[in-house]
């Protein structure tokens, strides 16, 4: 198994992560938002000298380094002469540093980087590759690896079709807890791309997309069950598609990241499923979903699911059965209650 593991972007966090180096194939982290942003929030803003120090450090430990420049919207700047010059300058510096791979979402960057630089180009999950046709397109542009759109993580027919269509490496993002077929996905990642990209950055008080996402899950926690995460125990069912897995979570504490690394490396986790999901992290203090209570469900139900939820109801019923809610959290009387305790009976 090749595990790609997130780093918050500072050397101290990285040193902590490297205590598990035997379980890690590659570290990935964002670069400086001053050049090409990323589609996620960032805790650090490593400059080139920081990236060099961290790249040298992981290489000494036998681990690869991947830089994430997966802005889903650059406002067209990448197509201007100045944008092209700046982006090329930045990527040249990263290649000189010895970065092993660069993740991008924009097809133009896939083509220009693969044509002009000696570095592996990875197509981001934010390029939404969810079909064999799209995978072929990106491979033809020069991609050496594709992170498949996590929306199809449980569509085994599509995953096999993509595997059969391309020769390049395929990666699965395994612990993203985003809504299945999330309606906010494009708008939210575009917002992040500007908020964590070059100036000018929007000064936003409340992230509507995030808060609305939480609201939907609190109203209907089956949305958490339907999210296309892959449990550590279910990795074995993907082995004929790929052995390359990416753990999301570069805005988390190192302790949280290492817990995920251990769970996925061991292909087993005895605890709250919410502990492993990158997003939405606020809800791990609300819901308790015993991971082991989901044993066998991917094989039994989701591998062959037609995704017509209003005619099925399986996930809704499963949610009622397994989801618990923390009550009196943070006090001596904290306990878990069945979700139905707090739901209006209809």
């Amino acid at each position: 198994m090749k595990l790609f593991v997130p780093s918050p972007g500072d050397i101290n966090s990285l040193k902590e992560l490297m205590t598990a180096k035997e379980k890690i194939y590659s570290i990935f982290m964002a670069g400086s938002p001053d050049y090409i942003g990323t589609g996620r929030s960032n805790l650090a803003s490593p400059q080139l000298e920081d990236i060099k120090e961290q790249t040298d450090f992981v290489h000494k430990n036998g681990v690869k380094m991947e830089l994430v420049l997966n802005s889903s919207c650059m406002g067209g700047r990448q197509l201007t002469p100045e944008g092209y010059r700046i982006n090329n300058w930045y990527i040249e510096k990263l290649v000189d540093i010895g970065i092993d791979s660069i993740v991008v979402a924009d097809p133009y960057l896939v083509e220009t980087i693969s044509n002009n630089f000696d570095v592996d180009v990875v197509v981001s999950v934010l390029a939404f590759v969810d079909s064999p046709q799209k995978a072929e397109f990106f491979q033809d542009l020069g991609a050496s690896s594709i992170v498949i759109d996590s929306n199809v993580n449980r569509h085994f027919d599509v995953l096999h079709a993509i595997r059969d269509s391309v020769d390049c490496e395929l990666k699965l993002l395994i612990n993203e807890g985003c809504l299945y077929r999330c309606p906010f996905r494009y708008a939210h990642f575009n917002f992040f791309s500007h908020a964590f990209g070059p100036e000018p950055r929007p000064n936003v008080l409340d992230d509507y997309y995030y808060l609305k996402c939480l609201e939907l899950r609190i109203e209907a926690p089956e949305q958490i069950i339907k999210s296309p995460w892959i449990r550590p125990e279910d990795i074995k069912l993907y082995k004929d598609i790929t052995d390359v897995y990416k753990i999301g979570g570069r805005t988390h504490f190192v302790d949280w990241i290492l817990n995920c690394v251990n769970a996925y490396h061991n292909e087993s986790y005895d605890g709250n499923l919410m502990d492993l999901l990158d997003c939405p992290k606020d809800l791990k203090d609300l819901f308790y979903i015993p991971n082991k209570s989901l044993d066998g469900i991917l094989e039994k139900q989701w591998m062959n699911c037609k995704k017509v939820c209003n005619k099925c109801g399986y996930c809704r019923n499963l949610t009622k059965k397994v989801t618990q809610v923390y009550s009196n959290g943070g006090t001596d009387t904290e306990k878990c209650m069945p979700w139905e305790t707090y739901s209006v009976k209809t």
């Binding site: 409340d206 509507y208 808060l211 609305k212 939480l214 609201e215 609190i218 109203e219 926690p221 606020d282 809800l283 203090d285 609300l286 819901f287 809610v325 009550s327 009196n328 959290g329 943070g330 006090t331 009387t333 904290e334 979700w339 707090y342 739901s343 209006v344």
Partner: protein, 135 residues
């Protein structure tokens, strides 16, 4: 004076009130609403009060359960010894989202800003629950 866990009377009371308010609001509304952070605050202008950052609370809930919510707000304000001039919800403008509930003892400078406003939503991001006008 805190105990060995860094807790003291104030933090213990805050934790107890956070959990208690959350529990009551869940039972009132019929959803597992999350009170993600309960803060006591003081501002440089002189305002002070309580902010409850909410997840899963909606504008419709304010409209339907306003009298009951105001009673819960008053109860927690009394528990934490805060005497609010104004209680309001902060919204994400134009959406169903209630980002936080706020109890504020207004200072001399900020009182007129609230006093001049009219209706339930004097600003697109505010939903007034209660305002005590000075005589």
């Amino acid at each position: 004076m805190g105990n060995i866990f860094g807790e003291n009377m104030i933090t213990t009371e805050l934790l107890k009130n956070r959990a208690g308010f959350e529990e009551k609001i869940r039972k009132l509304i019929g959803r597992p609403i999350l009170l993600i952070e309960l803060d006591l605050f003081a501002l440089p202008c002189g305002c002070a009060g309580i902010t409850a950052n909410m997840r899963g609370l909606e504008v419709d809930d304010l409209e339907v359960f306003e009298p009951q919510l105001i009673a819960l707000l008053k109860e927690m304000a009394a528990n934490l010894d805060v005497k609010p001039t104004v209680s309001f919800a902060r919204l994400v403008p134009g959406s169903s989202i209630v980002a936080s509930l706020n109890w504020r003892t207004l200072c001399q400078r900020c009182y007129p800003e609230f006093a001049r406003g009219e209706g339930k939503t004097p600003r697109p991001d505010l939903y007034l629950l209660q305002f005590e006008r000075r005589k």
